[in-house]
């Protein structure tokens, strides 16, 4: 059933775009079906799951690599499914009102959103590390596409790429961490790893840190949180869904998923608590000074995610229960708030606190829902947010639970209280900013939203209220999830009322201080402005990217010279550096010895051979030194005939005959071509470059010759050719070379004639073709059939040689639309 739900998401993603023509924006109703189905199914299975019998399913994919699509829905997954699919379904319905039918790319949008919904469902239900990574990165990519939905805005493109690079880049760390972890644990099933965590490997901390890096980036933990506020350029339903309610919880989910097994491994807890707390404080502090409601919420989200990471990563029962409560709370209240802002933005055209007034009066229902959600965020009873926060404070009361250590718990508690105060303050600021009447602001004219548009936020905030009033449902899930974790003094249940105790006192403190902070908001704003601004986290990203590009440019500029001779020189140098150095080393070490002085050593086999060799050497050097074409050609001919002579001496009449014929033909053809070319070559002046070239080439030539000498000297077996003579009788031929060519190794000959035929066709097509193009040019004619139709080569050809624009100029006119840019293969 779960697999069916996933497939359904994918199928709908394919089906939706064509439906847009018929349905317009109502296509989102259709889109809400798969997540709705998933959440209904999950709820129907909830009793069974909560009672400790998770649901499993599996599809094999690449068993040899342990990549398998295993699924397992337990309590934690259940909570996440409710968030992902439940909120998803609501947001899809909301989108019907948000998007106009003529919105650009609405089909694409709906399709990608459903795909995201499915991917997220996969993330929270899978039980295989690789499958988790698969779905995880799918959410990154869909998120990228959704952030960049309004791709004509530079800002959107930037933010999308930034989010992608951050999440996928860190996701790669996570992948390596997964592979390490699975390798250490011997299995890639998460449930098995958590149930029976490996402990003894020195690589385990490395694996965990790598995984945490991925989780932190996904959940926008400081200092990797910068992408999340930037991602707010996306349309509001997307922000609400991905960047508040679900995707960013991926990291929290992963931390919470692994915490039962690995929370006690250093440096897990230290890392999680530090980063989480820092994020909570930074986010809350930054939220206090935002003017844009959406950004306020975004920083609020960052803060809350830090909070959740702390709770999820601590690895105690109370913290775990608090995490479940806060997780659900956050999902509901944050999506409500975003949707509220979306409505405000949609109706009034702004979401700036400085420009909004009287919204509460004009949209009371919406304001009610928003206020309720904000109250939940602030941690006010009787909402689920309050329940979660109570539990959270309880979790860090020193002495109540075994981990973390009391001192650390004290610090954490203080941090959480400060964070909560900040949360209260920005929640209040949100309500005030969004709905309050402000005398200084003139009221805008706008239409009231349709009821359908407001339904989703109302429902979602109501869900928050419901869960708060009846926390038993959440508690059941929490207990089921927290069961394997270390217990404190007494079992803890999520509830509205725990009696008077330190936590209640702390809550009161939070409310009082928060209210104070809100009341003093002007002072706070000024204080924030007055403080030296610490470097933006985004700066790190920009520095990284810039460093990469600068490195890329400097490396490529230096290496990719564009000159053929340099390329060939480097190849020769490589040959010398690899086998060459090896050979020299062996010779120096005495592992190999040149056959000087051995019995085999001889100057020549016959004096005639010596003469031929000298002719060869002289002719070769002459060819290399000659700067005039025809003399060089004649020396080349002499060289060829010299080689033929050597062939005769070595008993190869066939070769000699062939070579002489081939040489003659080559000479004739060379003459055909050469008579058109200038009579001398352009030569480079003598200088160190030339000397270096000579040195390089001599070294390369010597290397090959010496290797040949050594190899032939060290022959290990008699050549196989003895067999040919024996078998030649069977064939009935007496010229062994020819018999080999046409019989024993006819396949080589076969290939060779194919080479010849191809070369012939190539030469013909190359020469004949050029002629035609010249005729065209003479007539000044473009090819006639392409009046308008831009064919593949037309532009290259015409824009190439003619547009003689200097490089600098091109850069200046990068985007000039008049065609002055020089595409692809610019000319000289």
């Amino acid at each position: 059933m779960l697999i069916f739900a996933l497939v359904l998401h994918a199928a709908f993603a394919v089906l939706l775009p064509p439906l847009v023509r018929v349905l317009g924006a109502r296509v989102f109703f259709v889109a809400s079906l798969p997540p709705a189905l998933a959440v209904l199914w999950a709820l129907s299975q909830a009793p069974r799951i909560v009672s400790g019998r998770p649901i499993s399913a599996s599809v094999a994919w690449v068993p040899a690599l342990d990549i398998s699509l295993d699924f397992r829905v337990d309590a934690l997954a259940l909570a996440m499914v409710v968030l992902v699919s439940g909120i998803g379904a609501a947001i899809f319905c909301y989108s019907v009102g948000y998007f106009h039918a003529d919105e650009r790319g609405i089909g694409r949008l709906a399709s990608v959103m459903v795909l995201f919904s499915g991917a997220m469902l996969g993330v929270v239900t899978t039980d295989n590390l690789f499958a988790l990574y698969v779905f995880w990165e799918l959410t990154s990519v869909t998120s990228f596409l959704l952030i960049g939905h309004d791709d004509r805005k530079e800002q959107a493109r930037r933010a999308a790429l930034q989010a992608l690079v951050t999440t996928v880049g860190t996701g790669l760390f996570m992948l390596v961490g997964f592979i390490l972890l699975g390798g250490i644990g011997g299995t890639f099933r998460i449930s098995e790893l958590v149930a029976d965590p490996p402990t003894d490997s020195p690589w385990l901390p490395v694996a965990l840190v790598l995984i945490l890096v991925g989780a932190f980036a996904k959940s926008a933990q400081a200092p990797l949180h910068f992408w999340l506020p930037a991602a707010m350029v996306a349309p509001t339903p997307i922000s609400a869904y991905l960047h508040a309610a679900t995707m960013v919880k991926g990291g929290v989910y992963l931390v919470a998923r692994l915490a039962p097994g690995f929370a006690d491994v250093d440096p897990w807890r230290a890392l999680v608590l530090t980063v989480g707390l820092a994020t909570m404080l930074v986010g809350g502090w930054r939220a206090l000074r935002q003017d844009d409601l959406k950004l306020l919420l975004a920083y609020g989200t960052v803060s809350q995610l830090g909070f959740l990471i702390v709770l999820g990563g601590t690895g105690t029962q109370v913290a775990a229960a608090a995490m479940i409560g806060t997780l659900l709370a956050h999902g509901f209240f944050k999506s409500t708030l975003f949707l509220t802002v979306g409505v405000i933005d949609h109706q009034t055209g702004t979401r700036s606190i400085a420009a909004l007034t009287g919204i509460g009066r004009r949209m009371p229902v919406l304001a009610g829902a928003g206020a309720l959600a904000a109250a939940s965020m602030a941690g006010l009873p009787p909402l689920i947010g309050f329940v979660g926060k109570e539990a959270a404070l309880e979790a860090f009361l020193p002495g109540h639970v075994p981990a973390p250590s009391p001192a650390a718990a004290g610090v954490m508690l203080a941090g959480l209280v400060v964070g909560s105060i900040l949360t209260f303050a920005y929640s209040a600021r949100f309500v005030w900013g969004a709905f309050a009447d402000k005398e200084t602001v003139s009221e805008r004219r706008f239409q009231s939203p349709s009821w359908a548009f407001v339904t989703a936020p109302v429902l979602l905030s109501a869900a928050g209220l419901l869960l708060g009033v009846a926390p038993q449902a959440a508690d059941a899930v929490a207990q089921s999830y927290a069961a394997p974790l270390p217990v404190g003094d007494k079992p803890y249940h999520l509830a509205l009322w725990h009696g008077f105790g330190p936590t209640l006192g702390l809550t009161a403190l939070v409310i009082a201080a928060g209210a104070l902070l809100f009341a003093a908001r002007r002072t706070v704003e000024q204080a924030q402005k007055a403080l030296a601004r610490w470097p933006e986290a985004e700066l790190g990203y920009h520095l990284f990217v810039h460093a990469i590009y600068a490195a890329a440019l400097s490396v490529t500029r230096r290496l990719q010279s564009g000159s053929l001779s340099v390329y060939l020189g480097v190849i020769l140098a490589t040959m010398l550096a690899l086998p060459g150095v090896r050979l020299v080393a062996a010779l120096v070490n005495g592992d190999l010895r040149l056959p000087f002085g051995s019995e085999e050593f001889r100057i020549w086999d016959s004096p005639l051979e010596g003469v031929v060799a000298v002719v060869l050497i002289v002719a070769t050097i002459a060819v290399a030194r000659e700067h005039r074409r025809f003399p060089a050609l004649i020396m080349l001919g002499a060289l060829g005939f010299g080689v033929a002579g050597l062939f005769v001496l070595h008993g190869a009449p066939d070769l000699a005959l062939t070579l002489i014929l081939v040489e003659t033909l080559t000479m004739i053809i060379l003459v055909f071509v050469l008579r058109r070319l200038p009579s001398t070559f352009n030569v480079r002046p003598n200088g160190w470059t030339k000397r270096f070239t000579v040195l390089l080439c001599s070294a390369a030539g010597t290397f090959i010759a010496v290797t040949l000498w050594l190899m032939t000297d060290a022959r290990t077996a008699t050549p196989i050719s003895g067999g040919f003579a024996e078998r030649a009788e069977e064939v009935g031929g007496r010229n062994l070379v020819n018999v080999i060519l046409v019989d024993f190794r006819a396949l080589d000959t076969f290939g060779e004639i194919v080479v010849l035929a191809t070369a012939a066709v190539a030469v013909a097509s190359l020469v004949l073709l050029n002629r035609r193009s010249r005729v065209m040019e003479q007539n000044g004619a473009e090819t006639p059939e392409e009046n308008g139709a831009e064919t593949e080569d037309a532009k290259e050809g015409t824009a190439g040689p003619r547009a003689g624009i200097g490089t600098k100029e091109i850069l200046g006119n990068d985007l000039r639309p008049d065609g002055a840019h020089q595409p692809n293969e610019g000319g000289e």
């Binding site: 076969f750 080569d793 050809g797």
Partner: protein
């Protein structure tokens, strides 16, 4: 400035050697050879060279066939034979110019290439039909009235394929780099002033 814009029209006509509408260069007068009044490729017309060429060419061609057939026992074979045969045509071109070359060809170079390739492929693939490995040789002997016992072997066919392809290659190259360029030069000579101005 010569643009190399590849202004080539797809399917406009053959690649220059299609038989029907052969472009200039192949428009050879179908007269007896050496009677064409065309400038040879190099230098002035030399009667001596022409006569020598005329006398030599049949001999060269015969010799090339001999090399082809006897290659199995003596130095020679398809390559050498093919090279020698194509020498005959090169000689003919050098002596008589491009029209001469065109007039003397049995078939277009591409045809020779394709034919040679087909013959070679056929010889190579035939044993497969009988479930034998590629390129296995088969031979049989018959007694012919005049020649006595004649052995025929499939590798001879293969060698003929080689022969044809070598001839095809050389002709193709001579046609392209020799004859074609010569034709172009003639055209260019007409247009020279304009082009010089452009450089």
């Amino acid at each position: 400035m010569t643009t190399a814009d590849g202004a080539w029209r797809a399917g406009a006509d053959g690649d220059g050697q299609g038989d029907g509408a052969a472009p200039e260069g192949w428009e050879a007068p179908r007269e007896r050879w050496l009677s064409t009044v065309v400038r040879p490729a190099f230098g002035p017309r030399s009667v001596l060279l022409e006569i020598v060429a005329r006398l030599l060419i049949p001999a060269i061609l015969t010799f090339s066939v001999f090399l082809l057939l006897s290659g199995h026992d003596r130095p020679g074979g398809g390559f050498v034979g093919g090279l020698v045969a194509s020498m005959a045509y090169v000689l003919r071109y050098v002596a008589g110019g491009r029209h001469e070359l065109a007039a003397g060809l049995p078939m277009r170079p591409n045809g020779l290439l394709a034919l040679g390739l087909l013959v070679a492929c056929g010889t190579a693939g035939a044993p497969l039909l009988f479930g034998r490995p590629i390129l296995e040789t088969f031979s049989f002997s018959t007694v012919l009235p005049v020649f006595g016992t004649v052995k025929f072997a499939s590798f001879l066919l293969f060698d003929i394929g080689v022969f044809l392809i070598v001839v095809g290659l050389v002709l193709s190259v001579v046609a392209a780099l020799g004859a074609r360029m010569e034709a172009e030069e003639e055209e260019a000579r007409v247009r020279r002033p304009r082009r010089e101005g452009g450089r």
